[in-house]
């Protein structure tokens, strides 16, 4: 397989390798994600029922209340946070959340190139993502 490398902008530094969880819909962390276990509970969301813990969470951008930033902090303090966040366009709620929760974050990535279940390597120093292994179909 030809390795896919995506270049974006580093927002919160860090590095990890994990499975991707990809959404085509914006996520509101306040109300949309259970702050105790990281389960996506927003109705009619394409990731409804999924857990974001230890995933590279890819979604277009955040929406909703700025309290959402604190939800990311709370998840991290309970070890329920994603390993990294990848956005198409970073927005203040998610950026602040990633900073205070210390979750590596990159934006300006074409997330359509990544599929749920892919194994990806996130280099949030350089702002680069590599798809190491496609999900087996």
């Amino acid at each position: 397989m030809r390795q896919v490398t995506l270049n974006g902008r580093a927002i919160v530094e860090g590095r990890c390798e994990a499975q991707a969880l990809v959404s085509t819909k914006p996520i509101s962390f306040l109300g949309g994600v259970d702050p105790t276990n990281g389960k996506i509970v927003e109705k009619n969301h394409d990731l409804n029922g999924e857990y974001i813990k230890d995933k590279v969470l890819c979604f277009p951008h955040g929406h909703g209340s700025t309290v959402g930033s604190y939800v990311l902090y709370s998840l991290a303090s309970k070890d329920q946070a994603p390993k990294a966040i990848v956005n198409q366009t970073a927005d203040p709620v998610v950026v602040v959340g990633a900073i205070i929760a210390d979750i590596p974050m990159i934006d300006r990535i074409d997330i359509n190139q990544i599929r749920t279940g892919d194994t990806v390597e996130v280099d949030a120093y350089a702002g680069v993502i590599k798809v190491l292994k496609r999900r087996e179909t």
Partner: protein, 390 residues
Amino acid sequence: MYLTKEEERIYDGEHGWANQICMKILVRLGELFSATRLIPISSAHISGVSYKTLGDAPAEFLERLADADGKARVKATLNPQSFDPEYLEKRLPKHIREKQFNILRQFEKMGFTQSLTCTPYYLEKPKRGSHLAWAESSAVVYANSVLGAWTNREGGPSALAAAIIGKTPDYGMHKAENRKPNILAKVETPLQNEAKFGALGIYLGKILEDNIPIIQGLKNVSEEKLKQLGAALATTGMVNMFHCDIHLEGGKMEKISVEAGDIKRTIEDLSTSSKTKPKLVFIGCPHCSLNEIRQIATLIRGKTVEAGTEFWVCTSRYVKKKAEDYVKKIEKSGGHVLTDMCTIVSWTEMLGIKTIMTNSAKTAYYAPTLNKVETVFAPLKQCLKTVLER
């Protein structure tokens, strides 16, 4: 983004974790919006104080920040919490009160003023042209449009970071070129009361997105009516500012006109119920000014509140104290002048309130979802007629 030597030291952690994390928030947000530097602010106003809207997640962060010696460097005020300390506190379960008090304790430790109001400008009016970092969208619009101070629409966390650093990134509403009007809204129908000003805000907010309008055709304007207009604009739109100075040159810009029918339809939509007798009549979103409390006391004219109905007037402790004589009249009628709280972030469900009547377009818009109630939206005079015995 350019940082001074001192700012860099804070960023690198030389002044501890609390300052470092706050500096990181400001710098990253600044970069996001292409700011090139930080600028000093004269005050910060923080939203996200009510335990009802915050839940448990933020308390952990606030505790850590306070434990790490986070301290506000500029005057920093707080938005309302979820209950009034005298009237409603005793009617709520202990665990809720304690969670709320814990949040307030953390802010107090960090040196925030326990203003607990959405109208911090009644406590101290910011100077024209001063830079602020205010959250609470209604106060942001009021500061930019009525007071001539300069602030972006901050979120709770970014206002908190700005308070602790004493600075904000220089972008958006802090730049003169971004404060110019770019759309003309002509109001073709007279707006006789504050409720109609609110309805205009709800209507325009949906159309304007984040544009800055000149609103022409407003008559009998008062600061309180503009407060209702601004709060409503920010409810349905990302509007940060409006102009209503008729001398401003419109120039070549898009025009929209607002007709009587638009206002009428908006008012109708803001009432989900017309038949139900409201359990609660609520005035004070945003918090009442001294003028408004005086007006309510005068209009009551010694009548009493009907049995089985609650009448709440919300304001800050500061204004309540200044309005002592009027407060006595309202309380004598059976009404309650409540401080520190906001009805839409309070626990009305727990008090068995199923219908709220209000003169606030913002409350009428939010209450069906936030308080799970029916709403009746009407001007003050009609609200009083409903709540007082004939």
